[in-house]
Amino acid sequence: MKKRICSFLLALLVACSSAAPAFASAGSNSSRALAGTTIHVYNWGEYISKGTDGSMDVNAEFTRRTGIQVDYTTFDTNESLYSKLAGGGAQYDVIVPSDYMINKLIKQNMLEKLDYQNIPNYQYIDKQYRNLSYDPKGTYSVPYTWGTVGILYNKKYVKKEETTSWDILWDKKYAGKILMFDNPRDAFGIAQKKLGISYNTTDSNEWEAAAALLKQQKPLVQSYVMDQIFDKMDSGEAWVAPYYAGDGESLSRENPNIGFTIPTKQGTNFFVDALCVPKGCQNKAAAEAYINFLCSPEVSAANMQTIGYSTPETAARKLLPKEMAQSMICYPPQSILDKAEVFTNLPDKTLTLIDELWTEVKMGGSGDTLTLIFVLCAFLAVYVGIVIYKKQKRKKEME
């Protein structure tokens, strides 16, 4: 919550990022030409293979092959990535935002156009993941992972048939055993699909309707969480929870009591996290070399094995272990993908409304801030009054 306020504050503080002209990349083909330089990479936490348990240490391998040092740091939400970029003061060379955030960054002119000459491995990216609605001409981004949203359930208490629809998250039978996403876009998305409206509607009435549905659900929800979903589902503390397919797949593989279904009835969210280069990048050629490296099938496969999400490359998919490559969860049939919808960026007015509605949902009822401030002020006034009164009294006593 704190950080959401920050993001909002920072969005208000229009701090234009340094307008240093990016050096035109020479497009040199010799891979060692950039040796000794450093790139700053900003990725999701736990979103790359780091060499534990005999996997590939992707960043070290990249440095070994090109001589380019990787300064690698991590973020937790698209919004915190945005606030970091918008605030200035942090110059990254490669970032990995999700679809709607890429769209927002493009509209605000915060991304560099990529030179696909330097990214020959782009050829491995399958056609269906190119030029999606967030980057229609495919000029700014290269897909890194993709996935869908589905429902985790405990097989002991919940039947698989029930999980084919989002309605289960409103089922009174499971009151107190339901978890929900702790971020507005995903949580509202589920309500919107249940209502049969688009994720990207700009109609405020439709958002209000989704919020009403979430408020109705609130008494049944055990808590709004992200990473704790794993523990709560694992221990049987909760029985039903929506989450991202890659994580759902790995959890259901680890724990035989847990199943994962992508609801087919109303459709689901299809998301892509893609590699981009932010404006003002000082070392674009090296950034593109890094993006190119992440796109090579062997590296993509190594990453997917660690992360558990889906690769946008058929060539990489072939290198995965069988149970991953043929997973119906990570690579669902086309019929499910046809019904899935991608988030796009929304106008500021709608985003503000979503923030307000989300606060209302989580606070339960309307969080009337003004009243709260008034009450606090009243308390303060009373306190100051008492202090002054005591002082006066003491003065009188002294006299």
Partner: protein
């Protein structure tokens, strides 16, 4: 009644320490899944992974360097500041100084963080540098300072103000008088201030998040794991940190009680000598 208070004590300690014990227990959990709820046998695998994980170790290194530097600088500055505030002439001047010192402590971290970031961005742009280690250390020194002053000042107030003059009367130079007389008197305050600064700096997330540029500290790294799940390596790391701090505390306590015992013996000897 006695029994009730005993039970109450046990409960309080249980609430305080149960989470830490659970964390330590699960750092030895041998499950392939990163489960933090089902214990399945003892193993050291997370410790092995931790010491092979460059990212966590780098974040830890950054955190420790920043904490040590920030705590050291804040302690020196804070001690000087406390002495300065203490020797201000006039009640109002002292009060004003203390109020200004206490402001950052009640200021919401978010406000401190954002305002520092804006200041740094402007300043760094003038210099042509980016945010990073430098800005992080400056920010940490800034928010640690008030805490050091707050823990040193009471010791100064407790001290007899004439001690310093008496030392000079007995032939000390001002510098000697400070180091030989004043400093030992306020040392406990300085030590607790330094410790406070150190732990605050290790813990801080909000201010670091805004002023870090492309540098990553441990809290930021841990927070960033929340889309996937927090790896048990973090349990292992917390256990190591907890053990180190525990050992340090024991060492400090033992040495202190040792020096206290020595002082008591010395005093006893001196009294004996007087009697003779």
């Amino acid at each position: 009644m006695k029994a009730v208070s005993k039970v109450y004590m046990v409960l309080i300690f249980l609430f305080l320490y149960a989470p830490i014990f659970v964390l330590i227990l699960f750092s030895f959990n041998n499950s392939n899944a990163m489960s933090r709820s089902v214990f399945s046998g003892f193993s050291l695998r997370w410790y092995r992974q931790l010491f092979g994980d460059r990212m966590i170790l780098e974040a830890l290194r950054n955190t420790l360097i920043i904490a040590v530097v920030a705590a050291a600088v804040a302690t020196v500055l804070g001690t000087l500041g406390a002495i300065g505030i203490n020797s201000l002439k006039g009640k109002w001047a002292r009060r004003m100084a203390m109020d200004v010192t206490n402001l950052p402590m009640v200021n919401p971290e978010i406000v401190t963080g954002v305002s520092m970031m804006l200041l740094f961005v402007i300043a760094m742009r003038a210099v042509g540098a980016g945010l990073g280690f430098g800005s992080l250390i400056i920010a940490h020194i800034t928010f640690c300072l008030p805490y050091v002053i707050l823990s040193v000042r009471p010791k100064l107030l407790q001290m007899d103000p004439h001690l310093y003059e008496a030392a000079q009367d007995l032939g000390c130079t001002p510098v000697q008088a400070f180091f030989k007389v004043v400093l030992p008197q306020i040392a406990p305050g300085i030590v607790s201030g330094a410790m406070m600064a150190f732990t605050l700096s290790i813990d801080d997330f909000v201010i670091s998040y805004f002023t870090s540029g492309t540098t990553q500290t441990l809290p930021i790294y841990i927070y960033s794991m929340t889309r996937k799940r927090i790896s048990p390596e973090i349990n292992a790391l917390s256990t190591v940190l907890f053990a180190v701090i525990l050992v340090l505390l024991i060492v400090v306590n033992v040495s202190q009680s040792g020096s206290a015992a020595r002082a008591a013996r010395r005093q006893a000897k001196a009294e004996e000598a007087e009697e003779l």
